[in-house]
């Protein structure tokens, strides 16, 4: 069955995202747009994943625990995990790989930790929008060892993308899906980037504002709606 997805959405934990990117707002917006599955993917952190899972309980929206990792090469990877525990293990690894640097809210924005009722329960103290000291190959291996999947993010963009930063997708990299951004024309992109035809493409919003969340326009075919099936499909 085809499920409408948006697997790259930032919450208010990401300093560059609006403060109204809260669990209730995002889940309600996703419902209004008729989405089936969404992933919360904050920069280098899974701090709000629990709030989203609890908030979505009883709704038809399936939440995929995730994060958007920034590797040492400053490439962004959408990382999706089978459960919250694995996402938090990844967070631990990522935090451990970055020397402490406090966030500057005045420059980068607030990094808000929220609960299922959208109440602010804290802030992530260290600066999240920077590179973890983990190379791309290693990052993909770690995510896979946690039962998750890594998807190079917005490969069509000219910053923070594996193509813009490395020039190519290394053959040895264990990825089978590449993410393209909302406005990318896949055919034009493949014409300018020959050799990428062997990859599957998935379109996600990288939403930092509520209005950016996708409509029903990006679909994944699954036997049934579960995080496990979704990750299996994206890992294959």
């Amino acid at each position: 069955m085809r499920y409408a997805v948006d697997l790259h959405i930032h919450s208010a934990l990401s300093p560059c995202a609006d403060n109204d990117m809260t669990p209730n707002n995002i889940i309600n917006m996703a419902s209004l747009k008729g989405l089936d599955i969404i992933a919360v993917t904050d920069h280098n952190s899974a701090g709000n994943v629990n709030a989203f899972i609890e908030c979505a309980a009883g709704s038809d929206i399936l939440i995929v625990p995730g994060m958007e990792l920034e590797t040492r090469e400053e490439v962004h990877l959408v990382c999706l995990f089978p459960d919250e525990k694995k996402a938090l293990e990844m967070q631990e690894i990522v935090y451990g790989s970055m020397p402490y640097m406090p966030n500057r809210e005045d420059i980068f924005g607030q990094q808000l930790l929220l609960d299922k009722d959208d109440s602010i329960v804290g802030s992530a103290e260290q600066m999240l929008v920077r590179a973890a000291d983990i190379g791309i190959e290693e990052a993909v291996k770690i995510v896979r060892s946690l039962g998750g999947v890594a998807i190079p993010a917005h490969v069509d963009r000219n910053s923070y993308s594996i193509i813009s930063n490395l020039g190519t997708v290394p053959d040895s990299l264990e990825v089978s899906y590449l993410e393209i951004s909302h406005t990318c024309n896949t055919q034009d992109f493949l014409q300018s980037n020959p050799g990428l035809e062997t990859y599957n493409f998935i379109r996600n919003s990288d939403a930092h504002r509520l209005g950016d969340i996708l409509e029903r326009e990006s679909y994944i075919e699954l036997d049934d709606k579960s995080v496990h099936n979704l990750i299996d499909k994206l890992r294959a």
Partner: protein
């Protein structure tokens, strides 16, 4: 040496219009990995980068570099220029390579030091 001297030494174009160009220049830092720049660039440096994403403004604010030079005639996003004007960060466009930018600023800073 101040920011407006950088624009003239490079025959470059000042792309921000609302920002004071009297900030003192004390060195140069060339790097395109923003995380690296955040932890290594120094106050007063001219930061030379091919990166034109909006985030360069935030990084410039954090590190207190004197200005940003985008070399090789690279196009700069309107959103980046707008943000730079809002936040008071000068951005200069140059047709020169990063290497040539460094050479010219190095020569100017050296001449300034020797004339003191």
């Amino acid at each position: 040496m101040v920011v407006k001297d950088v624009a003239s030494v490079l025959n470059g174009k000042l792309r921000t219009t609302e920002v004071n160009t009297d900030r003192n220049v004390t060195g140069v830092y060339v790097c395109d990995l923003l995380s690296w720049v955040m932890s290594h660039a120094r106050k007063g440096d001219v930061w030379v980068t091919v990166h034109t994403h909006l985030n360069i403004v935030a990084v410039a604010l954090l590190t207190e570099v004197s200005c940003i030079v985008i070399p090789e005639g690279i196009d700069i996003e309107e959103s980046t220029l707008k943000k730079a004007d809002e936040e008071g960060i000068n951005i200069i466009s140059s047709d020169l390579s990063a290497y040539e930018v460094c050479c010219r600023i190095y020569d100017s800073l050296k001449a300034e030091k020797e004339s003191k």
